[in-house]
Symmetry: C3
Subunit: 348 residues, 3 copies
């Protein structure tokens, strides 16, 4: 399928890359990655142009990779520096390289034209480095699902009451309307559930027992990074939207890496303004998140399975779909723009 290529995707946490050659697949492209002798992460097309053996089946010779079949050797710029049995090294023999940056302990890869890779556009939040906040990297959730369905789910507050009734939602929110802003660069959907019993998560981490005001803000950064800002405060405080920092507040981040048309890796982490430096709290939160994410996985994989076998769907749109529909249109526009299909008249 077609993807937005001129964008920074997450290739992995920084801790995932070391000396050894690692094969990853992103946007259906096989890539060999490793950390070179200067500590820099390198990413190259994982295929020798000669006989197509994955270079990850070869070995490192210093910072170069030597193919495991006939010894063709490529440097970190993708240039062929050795062909055993001949002296000339034709310029036509090379492998593609990908722009890589590390930031906030995350390895970012630019899947399009390296010349257009602008470090300033990498996703960031001040809370990553704010001492009033605790950042905790979680795991990589593998889903047999197209990334668009996963992203839909992350800008969709409505599913929480039905998919996560014991952890992230409860019946109080079933009929609370959702606000949506799809005009800005970042898609946004949110709602407040005022004066209602606390959900399981905040019973555990906020210590709330009486009624609370609870908020869920979903931000979707194109093409596939979601930030869910959720929290709770005693209802008696009657917090305004801007006062969320006064409550117990958590940012759940989801970095979606499209692998193939029906496989996505969701690396998740959280930032929180409570239990700073408390590793036990991190682990407990992870446990709750994992229950919820397993619930999402079951739903999303069942939907994907159905999509794989259905050709006669009659599309149905309901009120809660506003943000997902706008998101899909935006993605399509970005893909069209990269392909040069954009109509001059309409612009963006």
């Amino acid at each position: 399928m077609e993807y937005v290529k001129n964008a920074w995707y997450v290739a992995g946490w920084s801790s995932e890359f070391a000396d050894d050659l690692r094969r990853v697949t992103i946007l259906e492209q096989n890539i060999v990655m490793f950390r070179n002798s200067q500590g820099r992460v390198i990413a190259m097309e994982d295929r020798c142009p000669h006989k197509m053996l994955p270079l990850s089946k070869g070995k490192r010779i210093g910072d170069d990779i030597q193919c495991g079949y006939h010894g063709l050797t490529f440097d970190c710029a993708g240039k062929c520096v050795r062909i055993p049995g001949q002296d000339n090294l034709p310029a036509s023999i090379y492998v593609d390289v990908f722009a890589i940056r590390e930031k906030n302990h995350i390895v970012w890869i630019w899947m399009g034209d390296p010349q257009q890779a602008d470090e300033a556009t990498i996703f960031d939040m001040p809370e990553f480095t704010d001492p009033a906040w605790h950042a905790h990297q979680g795991e990589a959730l593998h889903l047999k699902s197209n990334y668009l369905n996963v992203a839909d789910n992350l800008v969709d507050p409505a599913h929480v009451s039905f998919v996560h009734p014991t952890t992230l939602g409860n019946a109080s929110s079933e009929n609370v309307p959702v606000h949506v802003d799809t005009k800005s660069d970042v898609m946004k959907a949110w709602r407040w559930i005022r004066d209602a019993p606390p959900i399981g998560f905040f019973q555990q981490f906020g210590g709330f027992t009486d009624n609370v005001d609870r908020w869920h803000y979903y931000y979707l950064h194109l093409p596939s990074i979601a930030v869910i800002d959720f929290g709770s405060a005693d209802s008696k405080a009657n917090l305004s939207e801007e006062e969320r920092d006064k409550g117990v507040r958590v940012f759940a981040l989801h970095f979606l890496t499209p692998v193939t048309a029906d496989y996505t890796i969701d690396r998740w982490m959280h930032l929180r303004n409570t239990a700073l430096g408390d590793n036990a709290a991190s682990e407990q939160m992870d446990q709750l998140f994992k229950i919820a994410f397993a619930e999402d996985k079951e739903i999303l994989e069942a939907v994907q399975e159905e999509e794989n076998h259905s050709d006669n769907r009659r599309p149905v749109r309901i009120a809660i779909d506003k943000a997902p529909i706008a998101y899909r249109k935006r993605i399509k526009k970005l893909i069209d723009r990269e392909a040069g299909h954009e109509t001059a008249a309409t612009g963006i």
Copy 2:
């Protein structure tokens, strides 16, 4: 592939359906089934029209089903009765329902237009309720085979000598000619093997040791129900065709449910005029049947495997194929009629 839709198929034994949501696939259509609070079996399209999640992943709210993703709720008529987040319930949001009837402890489903579902056309036999007969439900044989090949096999007396030499056939019948009647509504193939050693089945259940007259009548009710009337009597009695009730007589019933183009469920049972109320006899018969059906399964799955990979078959027809060939023509005619492709001039 195309199927006859305006017909009653077996969805399962009555005992297979209870409170819980059960997903079944019939004619490549996924269906969610359950027994409602009035004890009636309900069958609905197993797919929420919103995001295509199977409704069987959701839960019952009384006699309605609530989707497990966003809570859309459908009643037993397929009507959407709730969409969380909005008040209006568009008529365009619904799921298909299927006509269901229970009869003789079997759940029947009509896969076509519910308006045309006529209860009077459900397969029946007087022996189901005749106290002189014992009815015994067997199991569900799953075959990786197209249902047409399975049905062929059930109107094909000729295979018995070769596929079931120790149970249902023996060498005596190898060259006995088969009579065929393909003119009536029900296809029929039959033969008598007179004055020959008894087959394994009737050695065990008839107690025969001397020569017997043995009959096999194969009836195929379109689209996919087979009745095999077989039995034996002492050769000295010299029974006429009409006197079969005087011998030891068994009806082996096969209800074929086409699942997909290469998967069929064969629910089998038998009716017998001997060993009434004798459960041990039922179990012993089941054991013999299971040996024979495993033999059929091996053959039919090997044939399907070959069909899946062969494109250059030169078709060969021999004398014993008369009934299967007529059966296939009939099925094609029924499918054409449903599609409105039937030529007015030819009629049926």
Copy 3:
């Protein structure tokens, strides 16, 4: 895919065929094989023309095969000799047979027109029966790879240094040029590595510790038989090309049987002029070969996997590809000739 059909392929070692019906697949053709009452190996199309059941699911009646479904029976010439239920045996009902010869304890099958099968063209070497040589049949290596890629690898001395650094190659040969002769009927590639440390194989079987002269001659007999003549001698002897018999010399034979477009069986054996009659030496050599062949298998299967998923390869040719490229051209020419596509003007 298309294959050269008018050629002798290896169906198996003689020891693989006995009384029982054995199903094999060669050039995507399913074949039933057995050794008949005269000890002759028979090969027939493994599919009854009636309902397509593999005949290997049936049973032998003397030297005939009776289908396991309806008893149609075929003799060793593929002629139908019995159809239960009818007397006439139409000539249109038959199965194809294949020409078979046994030679040097190997069963050879001719996959094309049996009329053109010429026993004189079966691969042979005088060393098979020369008492100065020891012949040892090895095993059948199954590779999920197209046979052309496997054959490439067997006329490719250049991969040895990189794929088999501990057994059949070492760093001494990395840059030694390869000679190639692609003009003769048999493709040939070879090189001598003079005055270099012995490879693992000849440390073990030649007892060499000082520098040796080592040769590798790769002969590829079309369509898919490879002979690798390799050996070593003390460098001080300074052997000429013609004096190889004075060194420790081994012929490694590979008989490739294309099964499907991505599956190949490589039956390997060796002939040697050392350790005659020494079974322990045979086993030790097998162990070394198996290490090397497992290395080939890993590479070739990874290449096949890549080919299966790649559509945008930019072909790259380097100096060492001369023999493989010529080999592929020859195969294409043979296939075109069989198809009658050959242009009269060019001839061969």
